[in-house]
């Protein structure tokens, strides 16, 4: 195992504005050998470093097969992400990673996959969706549910169009509040689970979003007789080290950075959504 604090320089190749407070950066590790050797699993994350400011943990959006660059989508919330927002194409940052345990894409082979995401939870599931669509012969039907509060928060338009057009794939994008400009679904994303036609014995669920949303979504899935162990969630905490040392990302007995960020429901359910954990 190499030094978890080993950090490499990366260059911003492209910067895409997704919404008022969300943007995507495509980065390239500047040392070609390092970039070539960089391997990750969908669902893992990187620690991105902004010079003189610090690091933030951001999930990897790109497909491992996309070798030209690594993609990250960032929402402007804290001081570090606000600093990242100001970067331009050609600017340099630091990258440590990848860290954590990704989506159970091996276990999902031969199964139907249900993806449920809320808000920017659509970013960490993107790599899993692309991975499955690229290798569709290995998987059963794919259903994608994405919930957003307002239509203005809808990002990745092209991606969702592409997924919708893919064979054997159903996409539902739902806004919480009605909106005249919105032509897709309306209502809480979790409400759509009830009406889904699923082969519950063959379905594996992968979800990412606010904890309360994931808790409700998991409850709905369990009600539909999907086994708890076939439900996976990607958790989010403030990580400082990425390697299970700093203690910031603990939820009870697990470290989100090391044991997750993707957990099976039984691993995390004891304290999921519990205030203070």
């Amino acid at each position: 195992m190499e030094n978890p604090y080993q950090i490499y320089e990366a260059k911003i190749i492209e910067r895409i504005k997704e919404s008022d407070d969300i943007f995507t950066i495509k980065i390239l590790l500047t040392d070609p050998f390092v970039h070539h050797e960089y391997k990750f699993q969908p669902g893992q994350f990187n620690m991105l470093y902004l010079f003189g400011v610090g690091e933030i943990a951001i999930s990897i959006v790109s497909d491992p097969k996309e070798e030209q660059y690594i993609t990250h989508t960032i929402r402007v919330v804290g001081r570090v992400s606000r600093g990242f927002e100001k970067l331009k194409e050609g600017d340099r940052i630091g990258v440590r990673g990848p860290f954590g345990k990704g989506w159970p894409l091996k276990q999902a082979i031969g199964k139907d996959v249900l993806i449920i995401s809320g808000g920017l939870g659509c970013a960490p599931v993107t790599s899993a969706i692309n991975y499955i669509i690229e290798r569709q012969n290995l998987y059963g039907p794919l259903k994608i549910l994405q919930g957003i509060k307002r239509s203005s928060e809808f990002i990745y338009h092209e991606r969702y169009d592409r997924w919708e057009a893919a064979a054997n794939t159903e996409v539902i994008i739902s806004v919480d509040e009605t909106d005249v400009s919105w032509s897709k679904s309306i209502g809480l994303v979790t409400e759509h689970i009830k009406d889904l036609q699923l082969d519950v014995n063959k379905t594996i669920v992968m979800m990412c979003g606010p904890e309360i949303m994931m808790k409700i979504a998991a409850d709905h899935c369990i009600k539909k007789n999907i086994e708890e162990k076939n439900i996976y969630l990607s958790m989010e905490r403030n990580m400082h080290c990425g390697c299970g040392h700093c203690g910031h990302c603990q939820i009870g007995g697990v470290f989100v950075c090391k044991n997750g960020p993707v957990f099976s429901y039984p691993e995390i359910k004891e304290l999921l959504g519990r205030p203070g954990f």
Partner: protein, 269 residues
Amino acid sequence: MNSATKPKIAVHKFSSCDGCQLSFLNTGEDLITLSKLVDIVHFAEAGILSPNEKVDIAFIEGSMTTSEEVERIHKIRENSKYLIAIGACATAGGIQALRNFSNSNVEKWKNKIYERPETINSLPTSTPVSAHVNVDLEIWGCPPSSSQIYTTIRCYLSGVTADIPQDALCLHCKRKNIVCVLVAKGLNCMGPVTKTGCGVLCPSKDRECYNCFGPAENINCLSLGKRFQELDLSNEEISRRFLLINNSAPAFKKWGEYFKKMAHKENII
């Protein structure tokens, strides 16, 4: 960096002792570096005067104690993109805010002390900048730390807000391996309720902290006050521990007055 692209900085003085401005100036080589990075357009203590210029960052030292000052702070706010209050006076009202506790006595004192009291035009209270205009960042301390001020400028130049720690002094004290003066010597140390930032000056010199950096985040003044009672401090003395340099910081004001009331009750009995 040429002066056209250099951010403009102003340092304004209000009711204060000028000590905060010295924190700005007493930095040796860094001051020279700073002058290359920014354009200091107004800084009375350093002899540069242009109070009405539009600036990127305005640093405010001192509290608001006259109507002229209140008017002036509004003007500065209009002229500044980013406004930073520095020091105990600008963030909490300073030691002079003790007059806020005396109700109508200010007029009486004025007449007693000054030969021509009619020339003094002061407000009945001393208040922090935040009581009058929107403040973007507060750097507490009496005086504030030079390194926090300079870090703030560095962060501004890097396009981010400075992350001023709000933790209790104890965290920093333990990191520096300083023996706790409260536990090992029974001194009335305010460290557990005081914001870190001073570099643990007093405890590292075997003295108790007297809270010149203001209240830390999530503090428990009542529990600490009760501990001081066990250490044989009178309620009057405990009250004074809170009502000192940052007497009008809300948490210290509340609990200082609480112990003062307790002392008062004892006196009646």
